[in-house]
Symmetry: C2
Subunit: 173 residues, 2 copies
Amino acid sequence: MDATEQVIREEGHAAVSSRRVAEVAGIQQGLVYYYFESMDDLLVATFQRRTARGMARYEKDARSDKPVAALWKDLNQGLDARMSFAFVSLASHNERVREVYTRFLSESRQLQCEAIARDAAARGIDISPATPMALAFILHSTSLMMGREAALGMTEGHEEVRRLLDGLLEKFA
Amino acid sequence: MDATEQVIREEGHAAVSSRRVAEVAGIQQGLVYYYFESMDDLLVATFQRRTARGMARYEKDARSDKPVAALWKDLNQGLDARMSFAFVSLASHNERVREVYTRFLSESRQLQCEAIARDAAARGIDISPATPMALAFILHSTSLMMGREAALGMTEGHEEVRRLLDGLLEKFA
DNA sequence: GTCTATACACCGATAGAC
DNA sequence: GTCTATCGGTGTATAGAC
């Protein structure tokens, strides 16, 4: 799974083959099929491990003493943009990957909504006209987009966006 | 190029091969190489055509009598999420596709920034603490994310996000 | 567990007939 | 312009030795 992630990151998901993964892992091609029934299984297992790690990170953020600040920091530093794109791209046309991805998206957003609502209530912060859901959505999408562009070598305007959101979230810090 | 787009949309960019594209287009495989020197050329040409059409749409929005409202409407209706993901995924590992994509992103954002700034000035609208750049970025990323999720069958929270942004952009309508 | 060897499908690209 | 035929390479997956 480590080798699979590496290939996706460096060469894209189209380059993931039993031969290439085996080469990176330092084993022979046939051995891949001793551990995974098919390449599809390997792919699904790899993404499942990723989403489990992602959820663990978000849960840790939610339990910290500054949930929203921790989440926002995590979204801006912890996202692996290239893996993320590969994930979406695959999810569009692979039912099993789509299930893994939509469950992760749904559960993590739910978690983030609750964290925002609880944090705002605890600190007496009024986020209107936004709602926890809208805020969670916007934080997620903007940080993902900045990660995407940064992965492609573009950072124009990112400082401005970050400054604006940092300011709006100031009371949570 | 139409056949290529169709294959990308329905089966993903990994399924784009001269044989598959030829089959969809109703021609023989070898003929693809009469019109395009390589599959890479076909892919780049296909995306180039898309970005040209995208820019034309944004320019039309910018010239309309309600630039920001037109842009926001366009972002929410005109984005082909699946093509968009394939584009990004490919751009990560194909230099020529990356160039096409980053130029498009950069030019379209520039255009949108100017449209927002001009529209706000003309209507005497104060968008602070946001800036034209930050606003363009957030509109783009949220609409893209909603398109992405909708393509995967998720629409939870979208109404809330749209309501919030519609409200914030109300003065532009 | 790990290897080698192999079957069979599909890939990009080219050659040459019409 | 469009076709058929073909090359070498790579893909998934399996069989069987050790």
